[in-house]
């Protein structure tokens, strides 16, 4: 199994390099100039050229690419053009933040999505089904940036003054100022409070899709003979639905998890932007706009790696949830 996983990961490396190369080409062809962020009034063209030289941008493209590839293969992601900070540090700093946000949102979205999907499937064609699917699809259809701003209006700005709620959630950031002076419990509370709005927004957007998927999967399963068998045994309905049916309905949903997680990393772009959440999505957007190609390339590679890992994980999980395709059974 380990060998299998390792082989798949290794096979993905050329693929990811290919992706990174495409991105390199796109960035190289783009008309902008990373050095232009240092442009100041009174600056002479010579100074600009010097800055460009200092950034290593004077070399021909293929040399730049070769340099990048060489250091990349040696595990050195280089330095950010914009800040001079090593790319690795830059990414390691923000990656956990995105993972945290994505993991919480995914977990919530799957719990809520599975619950809603099952409710809808059990009451197919009922008004409840229509209302639930209409609502969840509405949130799913909403542009996430718009929803995010609305959430801040409702739960933060107007929470205390207009609605008179006792808690107004922090509208942005991961922690309060002075977080490092807090006690351990207060720290956890502070982080949780800051997590609520971004995670909830992301969850609302995701839940509709998952619920829809679970609903369809459940409808498929609930027609199966073994559900009839379970009922004929005299099992209570909740056990029939939540154990016998759901366990089977979740098998295809696991694949969704593998597909979702990496996609989520990019799906958080808008959420991170609006909530000023220091994560991968924002790093990527900022770096793209600055044409900070070492960061963009490393980020691309990482994203691609996540997709591959996500799919691998989904495959492995598939084996866990579905005994029929466990390895060794043929």
């Amino acid at each position: 199994m380990l060998v299998y996983a390792a082989r798949r990961v290794l096979a993905a490396v050329p693929l990811l390099l290919g992706v990174a190369t495409i991105v390199f080409v796109v960035l190289a062809l783009a008309p902008g100039d990373p050095a232009s962020m240092y442009l100041r009034p009174g600056m002479s063209p010579e100074t600009l050229d010097q800055i460009r030289r200092n950034m290593g941008l004077d070399a021909p493209l293929h040399v730049q690419y070769g340099r990048w590839l060489l250091s990349f293969l040696q595990g050195d992601f280089g330095q950010s053009l914009a800040s001079g900070i090593p790319v690795k540090d830059r990414i390691l700093e923000v990656l956990p933040n995105t993972l945290l946000l994505a993991a919480v949102a995914i977990l919530l979205a799957f719990v809520a999505g599975i619950f809603l999907g099952v409710m809808q499937a059990v009451r197919q064609h009922s008004p409840l089904d229509s209302v639930l699917s209409g609502t969840s699809l509405f949130f799913y259809s909403m542009p996430s940036f718009w929803l995010a701003i609305m959430m801040v209006l409702v739960f933060s700005v107007n929470a205390g003054t207009v609605w008179g709620w006792p808690v107004s959630l922090p509208p942005s950031g991961m922690v309060s100022d002075g977080y490092d002076l807090l006690g351990p419990m207060a720290r956890v509370r502070d982080r949780l409070l800051h997590l609520v709005l971004p995670a909830l927004t992301l969850t609302l957007v995701l839940t509709g899709g998952i619920a829809r998927y679970v609903r369809n999967s459940m409808l498929e399963v609930i027609r199966q003979d073994y559900i009839r068998t379970a009922r004929a045994k005299g099992l209570p309905e909740w056990q029939v639905v939540w154990k016998h049916a759901l366990r089977n309905a979740l098998i295809p949903v696991v694949t969704l998890l593998g597909v979702y997680f990496p996609l989520l990393l990019s799906g958080t772009v808008f959420i991170e932007y609006v909530f000023a959440w220091p994560g991968m999505g924002r790093l990527m957007v900022d770096s793209i706009l600055l044409e900070d190609y070492p960061v963009v390339l490393a980020g691309t590679f990482l994203f691609g790696g996540m997709v591959v890992l996500g799919n691998l994980l989904a495959d492995l999980l598939y084996g866990v949830v579905d005994p029929r395709i466990r390895r060794g059974d043929g």
Partner: protein
């Protein structure tokens, strides 16, 4: 009091937005320990009938119409509370389904699934329950039950799976076991084993057995009584041997005629033309008449009713075993059937096709 008394059972299910009467006025009585075979082509309403007995119809997209009655040991099951129904399902009445592959949940081990059935009906702790599971698996003839209990359905052969299904059905010590085409999906050799097993279990636990099959041969091996169902209605019922020897209804004759006899090569295979109509589009009059080679003009207009054919051998006739009725529009006397009920017949045999009631009284 009979074990099971079904009176005027009418069940519908929704298909394409319309309600279809899959079972339309069936009467059926079963005694303790009795084996009854329910025969008919696919689409004739056999499975709906079985599901109606278990109260499972409402979980699909069907329901039992008011006015129907299903009494189990005198207790009315139509309109019964779900909680009580659950006690009966898998308890007093258990069911074995056609496809052992799809009827077992693929993601749980066989032992777990039997254990669930055990725990649903008997207060046992884990260890006792598991011992019971092993005992049941052994009972149905699964070798090395300790190991097999940990296997997933896809790791077992078809026969083994069906044995596991039967073990699951036995878990609640049912008084009535409904077996819906238990052998249709199995190899011929395995079929025989399963039928033998059912027969053995039935006599051993003195269970009533409702064996549903499209195969008259299967029923004739196990059941004393046979009920022929067509298009949601009982067209003929009576002792198996009687019906085999002299089928009355053309449909029954058709069923028998379309069997393959390997031994008797002279017999010509005579399949019934066409197929069972959709349940939401039953023909007017006799529902079989479009396919019936012996139909005449009345058949398309009038619906025949079940008529007792005074066949008696031995004693012990019971009330309500069959009903004596006449043609709806015609006069009873003209057509001829008369009520001989209460005169002491062993088993009433009924035929549905009133056109043939002229044969009334013929000794078999």
């Amino acid at each position: 009091m009979s074990l099971l008394e079904i009176r005027n059972l009418r069940s519908v299910f929704r298909t394409r937005g319309e309600e279809a009467r899959a079972v339309d006025g069936v009467d059926l009585t079963m005694e303790r320990g009795e084996a009854v075979g329910l025969v008919g082509e696919s689409g004739s309403g056999k499975t709906v009938l079985a599901l109606s007995i278990l109260g499972l119809l409402s979980h699909g997209s069907g329901r039992i119409l008011p006015g129907s009655s299903i009494r189990l040991r005198g207790e009315e099951m139509v309109g019964m509370k779900e909680r009580r129904l659950r006690q009966i399902r898998g308890g007093a009445v258990a069911m074995v389904f056609q496809e052992p592959m799809t009827s077992l949940n693929p993601v749980f081990t066989v032992g777990d699934q039997v254990l669930e059935a055990v725990k649903a009906h008997r207060a046992m702790d884990g260890r006792e329950g598991w011992a019971e599971v092993i005992r049941l698996l052994r009972e149905v003839g699964i070798p090395e039950p300790e190991q097999r209990a940990g296997a997933y359905p896809h790791q077992l052969s078809g026969g083994m799976r069906q044995r596991a299904m039967i073990a699951m059905a036995l878990a609640g010590s049912p008084a009535l076991l409904i077996a819906d085409e238990p052998t249709s999906a199995l190899d011929v050799t395995v079929q025989a084993q399963i039928l033998e097993l059912l027969k053995r279990l039935q006599s051993r636990f003195h269970m009533a057995l409702l064996l549903i099959s499209h195969d008259v041969g299967v029923v004739s091996r196990v059941c004393q009584t046979m009920v022929v169902l067509y298009a949601g209605k009982v067209v003929e019922k009576g002792p198996t041997q009687d019906i085999l020897r002299s089928p009355r209804h053309p449909y029954t004759r058709g069923l028998l005629g379309s069997r393959l006899f390997l031994k008797d090569r002279r017999r010509v295979l005579r399949p019934i033309p066409g197929e069972v109509p959709e349940a939401n589009a039953w023909p007017e009059g006799c529902r079989f008449h479009p396919r019936c080679s012996e139909a005449w003009h009345l058949c398309g207009r009038e619906e025949p009713r079940l008529v007792a054919m005074g066949l008696g051998r031995g004693a012990g006739a019971r009330e309500g075993d069959s009903r004596v009725v006449g043609p709806p529009g015609g006069s009873l006397s003209e057509v001829g059937p008369t009520d001989r009920g209460g005169e002491g017949r062993s088993r009433a045999r009924s035929v549905r096709c009133w056109l043939f009631s002229g044969d009334l009284g013929e000794e078999t």
